[in-house]
Symmetry: C2
Subunit: 234 residues, 2 copies
């Protein structure tokens, strides 16, 4: 969907509220849509909306919440999307969240070779640092990260600790990820590429050598499996 972030925010607020009806009303007011119009879109009678907002029904199911949120967004869209546009602007800051597939800080530091083992990876550059400490890892979708994020956001992806492993998935040949690392002056203690088609890019290798970055690529078949294998650590 297009307004996913706003939708998630709305649905989340409604679900966490100790009185969901109040929050439903709040959003309906923001969108300036009457109970009647909303109910028409939802294909239910207006009293249903009222029952929720007034608190007779206290815990709408996710299906219902989802329908309400979607209806509000759809109606607004039909009116030119005024509300969506305004809020959309404000939600752009959360974009980079989507590029992050997994992130974790270890209780105990791990050695690079452990990360390599568990992620079924093979070294490309820098095999000397096998025992260096790694304090956590971040797995990013490199396509989303590189295409959609600003350099500032890119650097935010990377946690505060510097000694971390950085996994890039959906990598073609490894050029852009290494370039991105150079440009954002990130200093991960290990970079792992996943999903390489064919042979790694020579420039990528050269960059890794110059920056003295240990570089590896993972043989795990799918991104999901990579993530779940990593999760086993700690």
């Amino acid at each position: 969907m297009k307004n996913e972030k706003l939708a998630i925010r709305m649905a989340g607020e409604i679900s966490l509220a100790e009185n969901p009806g109040v929050v439903i009303k709040k959003w309906r007011d923001i969108f300036n849509i009457s109970q009647k119009e909303l109910s028409r879109k939802l294909q239910v009678s207006p009293s249903v909306i009222s029952d929720y907002e007034s608190g007779r029904r206290k815990s709408p199911g996710t299906k219902f919440v989802s329908r309400i949120v979607t209806s509000l967004l759809v109606v607004d869209e039909g009116r030119g999307g005024k509300v969506i546009k305004e809020y959309g602007k404000l939600m752009e800051g959360t974009k980079f969240f989507e590029a992050i597939l997994a992130i974790k800080e270890f209780a105990e530091p791990r050695k690079i070779k452990e990360i390599i083992r568990v992620s079924e990876s093979e070294f490309l550059v820098g095999e000397k640092n096998l025992d260096n400490a790694v304090y956590g890892y971040t797995v990013v979708d490199s396509v989303k990260a590189i295409l959609e994020l600003s350099p500032l956001e890119l650097s935010m992806i990377y946690g505060s600790t510097t000694q971390r492993a950085l996994f890039f998935t959906r990598v073609k040949r490894g050029r852009s990820p290494l370039l991105a690392i150079k440009l954002t002056s990130l200093r991960p203690s290990l970079v792992v590429l996943h999903g390489i088609e064919g042979s790694p890019d020579p420039l990528a290798l050269e960059l890794a050598k110059r920056e003295r970055l240990p570089l590896a690529f993972s043989h795990v078949d799918t991104v999901e499996n990579l993530v779940s294998k990593l999760r086993e650590l700690d």
Copy 2:
């Protein structure tokens, strides 16, 4: 709550998913919590969790979603908050969202005097520009905005259009809001203060004069009423 943003995201994702159980499992996996442990925290039998994750029950109520999300967060907190910390970092970008109480772009431009009328305001500075055009408004909680946001975030609050009205609520005497405007070089076409206790700060008036900013203060009793009066515009 402390991890509100993460909680909202989780609850929102679960609620919007066309199969909520899958998303519940996803988050349970991320937090590395077994069905059993989660069920203990939730005070239900483990099969309940399983029933959801496996899809037998398809649309959990908001109460249940809320309990699950909270339990996951609480368990993680008890373990030192590893996951929360990582994700928390990533959610900080959404902080400024909370400082915004209302925001809107008009279909047709309005005149300053209309904004003044509908918001029941009185001029402090700059009564000459009554007919200037205003293309939208933003209402911010000045305490949150000034205490919690960086200058960059502060300037993001302000929409893309420059000719907008900027409302500050929970204002003490108006000094900080005007200072913030000066420091972020915002150029609203109208600034309205709400909730002033006693007389406006002389420095605020001076700043407004120097910057040639039309400045007013609103008499509306509550923030809610101010927002709903503004919503009538358009």
